[in-house]
């Protein structure tokens, strides 16, 4: 009888530990999700900026591919940019536009020349506040209404590009 009581006690204790662990895990997951830098569905609001040509970027495209990159960033160089170039080419062929933003004036990376890009000479404070780019390269894919569909920090690999295309519905 005593042994049975002891087993019951351990059962109860383990059940409590399980519930507590599940609760803590749930809390960590929620906290981590809240810290995600570019959560899907977040809107990039306001006027974006001004292109090097001095005009506002066109905004009526089916989707918008935004790349934060610099000519001084090694991982933004052509050596690491092939999957990015492929993603850019595929999406622009499907009616999306490609927008390039750089951290400083004069460090816009040269494109591969095969795809039309809108390079921003200046951006608005609203755009900065709704993106908060901290490193290069960062890639965002936004829908027609400027809501984030997919984001990637670092070099885009071919698997990332495929994931982006899947999420964009192409």
């Amino acid at each position: 009888m005593n042994r049975l009581k002891s087993v019951e006690f351990w059962c109860f204790l383990l059940l409590m530990v399980n519930v507590a662990t599940a609760g803590v895990d749930f809390y960590f997951r929620r906290s981590t999700a809240a810290l995600e830098p570019f959560p899907s569905g977040r809107e990039v609001s306001g006027r974006l900026g001004i292109t090097v040509g001095g005009s506002p970027p066109e905004s009526g495209a089916a989707c918008h591919l935004v790349r934060y990159a610099s000519t001084y960033c090694g991982y933004c160089s052509p050596k690491y940019s092939e999957p990015w170039n492929d993603l850019e080419k595929t999406l622009t062929h499907k009616g999306c536009d490609s927008i390039i933003v750089s951290p400083y004036s004069g460090d816009l990376p040269p494109g591969d020349g095969a795809t039309p890009e809108q390079k921003l000479a200046g951006v608005s404070l609203q755009f900065i506040k709704s993106t908060h780019f901290t490193s290069t390269p960062i890639t965002l894919l936004l829908d027609r209404d400027w809501k984030i569909v997919w984001s990637h920090i670092g070099v885009v690999e071919s698997g990332d590009a495929q994931h982006a295309l899947r999420l964009a519905g192409f």
């Binding site: 087993v7 530990v17 906290s31 306001g46 506002p56 951290p103 004036s105 200046g122 780019f133």
Partner: protein, 178 residues
């Protein structure tokens, strides 16, 4: 009955063994993300090369050959006229051209104010600019501070944004020694 209890205990142990590594992994991920997304407290070394544009995309002349100091101020759309008045009074209190005041619109709604060089001949008001420098200016503005820079956009000091333009002028004068 005993066998049932045995399996219950076993099941719970297995479940715990499954949950615990997940929790540890999520905790590590959360800590890493907290570190990565924590606001940077550090003052930037420099905000150059910096370019500013008005609402129509025209490049603005922000400094001249006489400039020795630069202080950018964010013009908030929700108190635009008060901020523009603040900058005008600050310019009057600090008339020497060695100090360049630069207004930075936080929303393109203040673009009317940036039709500017006629409306505000004493300081340029920019609507668009370089990403990283504007981010730093906004970051300090969120803490109610402004950056004081030399003519090469090297950051010298961050100053609290005083409630009145005259107080702000006194603080700036004390720092730049004029």
């Amino acid at each position: 009955m005993r066998i049932l209890l045995f399996f219950a205990v076993l099941g719970l142990i297995v479940m715990e063994a499954f949950l615990l590594p997940h929790t540890v992994r999520d905790f590590r991920t959360m800590r890493k993300m907290r570190v990565e997304t924590a606001s940077e407290d550090g003052r930037p070394v420099a905000l150059s090369p910096f370019a500013g544009y008005d609402v129509d995309g025209r490049p603005l002349t922000l400094v001249t050959d006489d400039t020795r100091w630069i202080v950018p101020f964010v013009i908030h759309a929700d108190r635009m006229s008060a901020d523009l008045d603040y900058l005008s009074r600050l310019r009057k209190a600090l008339p020497r051209r060695t100090l360049a005041l630069v207004g930075v619109c936080d929303q393109s709604r203040c673009s009317a104010a940036s039709q500017s060089e006629q409306a505000h001949p004493d300081f340029p008001v920019l609507v668009y600019g370089s990403y990283a420098p504007l981010k730093d200016i906004a970051r300090f503005d969120d803490r109610n501070q402004v950056l004081l820079m030399n003519q090469f956009w090297g950051v010298n000091k961050s100053l609290p944004r005083a409630a009145s333009a005259e107080e702000m002028a006194t603080t700036i004068q004390q720092v730049i020694g004029q």
